[in-house]
């Protein structure tokens, strides 16, 4: 069977990833899955460099998040096949020169939605204070000597700032539930995510090894 297995070719072509890149990714997929057709969470443990990453939990989780896999249902998948793998990878493709305004805007929203899902771990469409705290704690998890309170207060400060950006002035009785996707978009307004969030997978030669 070819690299695409039984997956329909048309859906993959819409991802605008070149065939060379698909080849490379497929080779990588086979490495990770140890020649199986699907990958499970445990397969990601075999990547040595990922251990140092403070947010590896969230990254691996993102691969199995059904919302990212463009499936209708919610929750986590147990295993993903190559098509799903490519779907996730397509969130990281770079912008093309010939995109118009509308495409660019959609592109940007897609990427931000992926990020949003990573922050919003309970899938309720809002990033609550507890989830944000969780994010900051994970970011600082490489420093075991830090107290937990530090992470919490940073997250609190950030949340307050987010609230003031998104809602403006708030009276003492109003409660800010959490960051919705629209608020999230507002926060990212100044940053060009479409130029930042991309990964090159053009190089066929550099293939990192697994255990």
């Amino acid at each position: 069977q070819g690299p695409l297995g039984s997956a329909p070719v048309t859906s993959l072509l819409s991802l605008a990833v070149t065939s060379e890149q698909i080849e490379h990714l497929h080779r990588r997929f086979k490495q990770l899955s140890q020649d199986q057709l699907t990958i499970r969470k445990e397969n990601f443990d075999s990547i040595p460099d990922l251990e140092f990453n403070p947010i590896r939990g969230k990254i691996v989780h993102a691969f199995f998040d059904k919302r990212n896999l463009r499936q209708e249902s919610d929750g986590l998948a147990d295993e993903i096949n190559f098509e799903d793998f490519l779907t996730i990878m397509s969130y990281f493709r770079p912008i093309e020169m010939n995109m118009d305004e509308e495409q660019l805007d959609r592109f940007r929203k897609e990427k931000l939605k992926f990020l949003f899902h990573m922050y919003d771990s309970d899938h309720d469409g809002k990033i609550t204070l507890q989830e944000y705290r969780n994010v900051v704690e994970e970011l600082l998890s490489g420093n075991p000597h830090l107290e937990k309170e530090s992470a919490r207060s940073i997250a609190d400060g950030a949340m307050m700032e987010a609230a003031s950006i998104c809602v403006g002035q708030m009276g003492p009785d109003q409660v800010y539930e959490g960051i919705t996707f629209e608020d999230f978009l507002k926060m990212w307004q100044g940053i060009d995510i479409e130029t930042k969030m991309h990964v090159r997978f053009l190089n066929v030669d550099t293939i990192a090894h697994c255990y």
Binding site: N53, L115, N143, D156, Y176, G190, I191, M197, R200, F201
Partner: protein, 690 residues
Amino acid sequence: IPSVSSIVPESCLLIVVGLLVGGLIKGVGEKPPILKSDIFFLFLLPPIILDAGYFLPLRQFTENLGTILIFAVVGTLWNAFFLGGLMYAVCQLGGPGLNHIGLLANLLFGSIISAVDPVAVLAVFEEIHINELLHILVFGESLLNDAVTVVLYHLFEEFATFEQVTIIDIILGFLSFFVVSLGGVLVGVIYGVITAFTSRFTSHIRVIEPLFVFLYSYMAYLSAELFHLSGIMALIAAGVVMRPYVEANISHKSHTTIKYFLKMWSSVSETLIFIFLGVSTVAGHHYWNWTFVISTLFFCLVARVLGVLVLTWFINKFRIVKLTPKDQFIIAYGGLRGAIAFSLGYLLDYKHFGMRDMFLTAIITVIFFTVFVQGMTIRPLVDLLAVKKKQETKHSINEEIHTQFLDHLLTGIEDICGHYGHHHWKDKLNRFNKKYVKKCLIAGERSKEPQLIAFYHKMEMKQAIELVESGGIGKIPSAVSTVSIQNINPKTLPLERVLPALSKDKEEEIRKILRTNLQKTRQRLRSYNRHTLVADPYEEAWNQMLLRRQKARQLEQKMNNYLTVPAHRLDSPTMSRARIGSDPLAYEPKGDSENLPIITIDPASPQSPESVDLMSEEPKGCSGLPPSPEEDEEGLVMRVKEPSSPGTDDVFTPGTGDSPSNQRMLRCLSDPGPRPEPEEEGEPFIPKGQ
């Protein structure tokens, strides 16, 4: 009517001033001074480069390093040879006046004139606020092409004295490029590390910290220039390497000092350079040859445009974010020449280069053309082409969190893909930095501080200082939002929030800063007091207040040590401000305060610690503090009288305390107050400062 400064960039005006000054001096009969090369290279150029290097936006620089290097190295080489070759052809065809100029001389001339000048680029690009990518591309190119210029210049200068140039010489010349550039960088790195290491031990003598930065940087420059290595690259490397470690070690005041000194020196240097250029134009001997000058100018422009076009086509194959034709135009148009070219030309020796005057004339013409014509027209062109301008992003903690998150995410994805890309190596470098380098070069606890925490502290500090400084104006800083912790987490008690543990030095610093500002504004307040203090009938009430305050101050002593307790009770200025902001009506007159005169505390808005005046003992609302005796004082409590006189800024509409449970503004973070001295001075209202 547009003002002059919006049309004409500063550099042009300065050159005109120089021309006038030179003309004046000449008119008087004196000989005007010329910009001597050693003055330029030794004294005028280093401050500008150090300023650029120390504040280089490292992130964008490294992301675009490949592009910048290609433009700097290949672009400059192309310019030099193309121009040199063409000028040689022109000379051959140019008639008897030019025939004697050999190929080498022309190549030398080409190498002098082809380098994009950092001073000119800075001067013009600073004013047009172009987007960061283009700015760093042109600016980075102007910095890094120094190595190429140095090599070519010395090479051709040497060769011109040789009888014959062999292949070996050329190959050696090619190798010397690597020596010059990498050697320069190495020298810079070494000095940068030495500076960082030195700053680790300066915690007891803060005053000389800026001195080390300037001294070692200058030594890096001189050392590199001594060995004919690239001084500019050494200086940039030193600045870039030392900055993160030095900033972690030095005090806030030293940081401000360094910043302001660098800006000041570089401004002065830039001004002097341009003025001198004008004066030198008037003073110098000129030899005007129409053919030579016009063809130089023309070919300079052509070479630049062609070079940019070809190189961009090549670079775009490897870039993810491609350079659009608009970008290319700006890059080509931004290739300004400046004083470095002039000084290099001035260095030429008459013996070997008899046509030096002609060269100088041509160089000056090109400089004038690029600075005046291109400098003046680039701003309207940028607007016309709708080139993206610089986005004013305010540095926020959210942005920092997101950026770090994104970095880790992309590194993770790269690892999963199996591709060792940009992020992977950056991550490796960061880990190496954290594990080994930071421990050596950063003093004490801060070596283990992760970047997020350091950033957070920096922001808190900045906000605290802004708050304190703006307190005297009586305006609300626009950044204050009314969002408080209650808004996002209704279940928390007001004082539950804690701050990451500040080190003792930082606390001491914050305290000191607040104390000095407190003092300043107390003095100011004193003057207000004399004018508005209503006299006698209230003296008694005053005395009561004074007595109570004295007692409170004694209790304060006890509270002194609470700042050193593991930061649990520490409240950050942001928090206090947030709470203040959310409760602007937090002051209400106490029971007996009706008897007290209404003092116009005009500048002291409720947000500033300067409006510390009375200390009351009601401990309500401070549930988080350690259990202390009943009259326990929570440090300086702000009570602001309602501003009564009509002239005051009625910033906060005073109202009765509708806030729950007598909220008041806490200034736990501020210093424990002035040393308690006896009240006999009779300064009625304000506790005597130190």
